[in-house]
């Protein structure tokens, strides 16, 4: 369900196409589409080696793809491979975030965790599949279509060459942040862009992460509170029933009914806790991850800018050197000229790379804001709807007892 909605939204907002109704399959055949679903988590392997595998079903009419449907088996590390490859190749684009690798052993195979991860992975792939640029990626095609052995080989190759460890990413973040502080302290010549609008964006992104993280933390606690309230309602219900057993038959029945109601509400609370987790807390967490992904892009842009600057510096020096050599009519002039030309080409490339990142980021940020408003709006709706429903169920349950309670007092 979520898969289709996300994909629909992304497609309509990114390509500006008219909203397609999923029921009209004829339309699907004419328009190019690529839709993926990540399903059916299955635990494989034993002990420490155990992991979860997912069925990834691709439905598409893209000519490059083996269509109309292809099913492959993938595991979490395959998704990580895909993310890393795309991150390398598509600098400037906000790469869709992946759910975290859970460290806690006990939790790793809990039903809830598995379901949350599956959902997040599904959203991840679909976001890539519906991004106008990213969907063209060869790596995506490999991920969605390659045989399992091919995928495994590709994954092993990654280690050591392209694989960006979290530590590396952290270092990049730190570089970006420390550069800012260094400049403030006057330690270093600013290798930062002097772009006030971009500065504003950076400031926004960093602040947003903090605020979101706090909201998400409370949302997670709220889930826990629902569970706790459910538990205590259950215990309370049992205790009330026992207390009622001390009373006479008819009066005792009231206690028993109340206790039963309390226990039934306990079940509803557990349900709502789960709903909250999946449809409110998880989207918030997803939002936080998305912001962190933007930070990675910011770091990439800073890198590209630095490279451009450094190359520019080097070229200047080489120019001066070349002039000097020309003046003294050295034999090295030829060599130097070749070097200089190469450097100029590199510099040109670096500039282009940087400019593309800038351009892409500008587009991406607009799309990001719009997408997030939709995502968060839906999460809010689910939250409000769930809470309203729960409260109504609670009111109805207790209200049902009132006539019985009334009847009791009229007897005495």
């Amino acid at each position: 369900m979520a898969m289709i909605t996300t994909q629909q939204r992304s497609l309509s907002s990114s390509s500006g196409q008219s909203p397609r109704s999923p029921s009209s399959f004829s339309q699907q055949q004419q328009q190019p589409f690529l839709s993926v679903s990540v399903t059916d988590p299955v635990k494989l392997g034993n002990g420490v080696q155990a992991y979860i595998s997912y069925r990834v079903i691709t439905k598409t009419n893209f000519p490059e793809y083996q269509g109309p449907e292809k099913i492959v088996i993938r595991r979490y590390s395959d998704f990580v491979w895909l993310r890393d490859r795309i991150f390398e190749k598509y600098k400037g684009i906000f790469i869709p975030p992946l759910p975290e690798k859970s460290a806690v052993e006990k939790f790793r195979f809990s039903a809830e965790f598995i379901e949350m991860r599956r959902q997040a992975l599904d959203v991840f792939v679909n976001r890539i599949a519906s991004h106008p640029e990213l969907q063209k990626s060869d790596d995506l095609r490999t991920f969605l279509q390659a045989e399992e052995e091919t995928m495994e080989r590709a994954r092993f190759q990654e280690t050591g060459i392209f694989k960006k460890k979290p530590a590396d990413l952290m270092q990049i973040f730190k570089d970006v942040q420390s550069k800012v502080s260094d400049v403030v302290l006057g330690k270093e010549k600013p290798v930062e862009e002097s772009n006030p609008e971009y500065e504003k964006l950076k400031h926004y992104i960093f602040g947003l992460e903090d605020h979101l993280a706090e909201a998400q933390k409370h949302a997670f606690r709220l889930v826990k509170r629902h569970r706790e309230l459910g538990q205590s309602l259950s215990d309370f219900g049992k205790a009330v029933k026992l207390l009622g057993a001390c009373e006479g038959k008819s009066f005792g029945k009231v206690f028993s009914d109340l206790g039963t109601k309390s226990e039934s509400l306990s079940v509803k609370l557990q349900k709502e806790a789960h709903n909250l987790l999946m449809n409110f807390e998880e989207p918030l967490k997803d939002y936080v991850r998305a912001v962190q992904s933007i930070k990675a892009t910011i770091a990439e842009r800073a890198n590209a800018f630095k490279q451009q600057c450094e190359l520019a510096e080097t070229i200047k020096l080489k120019e001066i050197n070349l002039d000097k050599l020309m003046l003294i009519r050295s034999e090295k002039v030829g060599e130097a000229e070749i070097e200089y030309k190469e450097l100029k080409a590199d510099s040109e490339e670096a500039s282009q790379r940087f400019e593309m990142i800038v351009r892409l980021m500008n587009e991406e940020i607009v799309r990001f804001q719009e997408q997030k408003t939709l995502d968060v709006g839906l999460a809010f709706h689910n939250f409000a709807k769930g809470q309203a429903q729960l409260a109504n169920e609670i009111a109805d349950a207790w209200r049902g007892l009132l006539p019985k309670l009334e009847a009791c007092s009229s007897h005495t």
């Binding site: 909605t5 309370f236 408003t373 709706h381």
Partner: protein
């Protein structure tokens, strides 16, 4: 003890063995009023006080207004749920709390201001109109409204005073007095409104004297002394807590149909100056007397017969050492001796009832604990909801300030709706909970009452023991008399000394007979008190529990409806985000 060799040897041997028991027996008696069900009282208090703390320190520190309105009237606040019931039919309005509920400030400028409100100056004199003013609930106020007789007691104004003269410590002992104000229309008091200053020691005295005069009744247990007195006493919290505990206690006394008319209570509430009741220390000083007298008694040198008037009290302290000793022997004989005592607890109905009450106590304890957990869980969820709301408010502000795109402004607006709803819901949780605490407090009240039940039943047991002891004594006296008679009849002309002894013995028997009659009468009286109190307990418990359940349920319904409305609105406002996907 009576001069017979056999007996005195036996008794002497026993004397050394049971001295500790005797001492502990004495202590037990003194301490019997200190019995408290520590766990439940302190735990419940901790929940109450933590609720109160969070009340003050939480950024969303709010005082529920609805309670003030409920307390302002003298009516049974528990009656209002019935009033609410009529409103129940109307789906839009819910509990009567709606009437008193003031609209929250507008969140237009995304600034949250804590909800401010004034206390209507409840007669309790408390600053905070919190659920601590459970005075009404403390008495399960059905009594104040159902009878035409009205006795309302309030405690105010704790003040430190110095004890003059007889203190050994330079600077004197300081203690706290409380102003106790009574309003009544009962003719016994002769006035309709009066005040008096009492200290805690006076309350202890009152409680002790009541327990002596009203054996067999379910006398509300008094607030506990605290082990760490001295320094702790100075703390504000302690004094506050004690003040409220005193008020609760006095109101419970006023609610008891028999005790409210007692002389002891009247004197306590009305007589100015020093409390004219014998203090517990006076009673304890009898201990010294007793310790001096015992050797004489053992060797038959002083009158050691239990006087009839003494049997109407359980054996304790001081001069009763001998009696304690005898009764202890009797109870051991009851348990381990071969023969059945002449009078036993035969009342099957009573024994059944006792068992049922023990069961009730257990379930009350359990339910009280679970009620505490429930209250805590409700408090927590309300708090977290509030914190979530605040986090969203901050986020909204942030987005609005930094907005560069319209989509951000839209998002910020959505977020504000959710934040507002969350904060409102949080407040509802808190208010609802404050009510829940009051309703479920009934469980706690009855748990405390079980102590009084224990006490009343043990009055019965000790009265029975006294009777049994006297019966045993009588039969052994009569046996000796028979033996003496038989012995002296063998001597021709009579044995002057023996005849004299026989006369003395017959006199002793007569006095003991009288004492036995008194003891039996006392025992019967206590039995009757037990019976009528059990009946009252059953009756009142039914009403109180019913009110508790009703109040609890109505409260839950009311607030759930309010919370549902708040969220339904937001769900409606954000319904556009749902694309028909199926």
């Amino acid at each position: 003890m009576m001069g017979s060799e056999n007996q005195s040897n036996y008794e002497e041997a026993h004397l050394y063995a049971s001295r500790e028991e005797m001492e502990s027996l004495v202590l037990d008696d003194e301490e019997s009023n200190n019995l408290n069900n520590n766990k439940s009282f302190s735990e419940y208090r901790s929940v109450m006080s933590s609720l109160d703390d969070s009340h003050l320190h939480h950024p969303l520190a709010l005082s529920p207004p609805s309670i003030v309105v409920l307390e302002a009237s003298h009516d049974d606040p528990l009656k209002s749920p019935q009033h609410q019931q009529q409103q129940q039919r109307n789906p839009n309005s819910s509990s009567s709390a709606e009437n008193s509920y003031l609209e929250p400030p507008s969140y237009a400028d995304v600034i949250f201001s804590p909800f401010d409100h004034e206390n209507n100056g409840d007669s309790n004199g408390n600053e905070s109109p919190s659920f601590h003013d459970s005075g009404n609930f403390g008495t399960l106020s059905r009594s104040s409204s159902s009878s035409s007789e009205y006795l309302k007691i309030s405690v105010f104004d704790p003040q430190k005073e110095q004890e003059m003269s007889n203190s050994l410590v330079p600077g004197g002992n300081s203690y706290v007095t409380y102003l106790i104000t009574t309003k009544t229309n009962m003719p016994e008091f002769g006035a309709s409104e009066f005040s008096v200053r009492r200290r805690f020691k006076d309350v202890v005295t009152l409680a002790d004297r009541l327990s002596e005069s009203y054996r067999g009744f379910f006398i509300p247990p008094r607030p506990d002394k605290n082990v760490v007195e001295g320094q702790v006493m100075q703390k504000q919290d302690f004094v506050e807590q004690r003040k409220m505990a005193l008020e609760k206690y006095l109101r419970r006394l006023a609610a008891h149909p028999v005790i409210r008319k007692s002389d002891e209570l009247k004197v306590f509430l009305q007589v100015q100056g020093r409390l004219p009741l014998p203090t517990s220390t006076d009673v304890a000083s009898r201990m010294l007397d007793g310790a001096v007298k015992l050797p004489k008694q053992l060797f038959g040198e002083s009158g050691s017969v239990v006087a009839p008037h003494e049997v109407v009290q359980p054996a304790k302290g001081g001069r009763d050492l001998l009696r304690i000793f005898k009764e202890l022997k009797q109870s051991v004989a009851n348990d381990w001796g071969g023969s059945r005592p002449q009078l036993v607890e035969e009342d099957k109905e009573f024994l059944e009832k006792k068992e049922k009450l023990q069961d009730l106590e257990q379930q009350l304890s359990n339910a009280s604990q679970q009620a505490e957990s429930l209250v805590k869980a409700q408090q927590d969820i309300g708090e977290t909801m509030g914190e979530l709301g605040l986090a969203f408010i901050k986020l909204t502000k942030f987005e609005t300030e930094e907005a560069m795109y319209n989509s951000q402004r839209v998002r910020a607006a959505d977020m504000k709706r959710v934040a507002t709803a969350a904060v409102k819901a949080s407040r509802f949780y808190r208010e609802s909970n404050a009510q829940t605490v009051k309703h479920l407090d009934t469980l706690h009240e009855y748990l405390g009452l079980m102590l009084a039940v224990h006490s009343a039943f043990s009055d019965r047991t000790s009265a029975l023991l006294t009777v049994q002891t006297l019966l045993s004594e009588l039969s052994s006296l009569q046996l000796r008399a028979e033996k003496l008679e038989a012995a002296s009849s063998k001597i021709f002309g009579g044995d002057k000394s023996r005849i004299r002894k026989l006369e003395e013995l017959k006199e002793t028997i007569r006095v003991t007979e009288d004492a036995k009659m008194c003891a039996v009468r006392e025992y019967e009286r206590i039995k009757e008190n037990n019976r009528s109190e059990v009946e009252r307990l059953d009756r009142e418990r039914h009403d109180d529990f019913l009110n508790m359940l009703k109040g609890f349920v109505v409260n839950q319904v009311g607030y759930a409806e309010k919370i549902a409305n708040v969220w339904a609105k937001v769900a409606e406002e954000t319904s556009g985000y749902v694309k028909d996907s199926s």
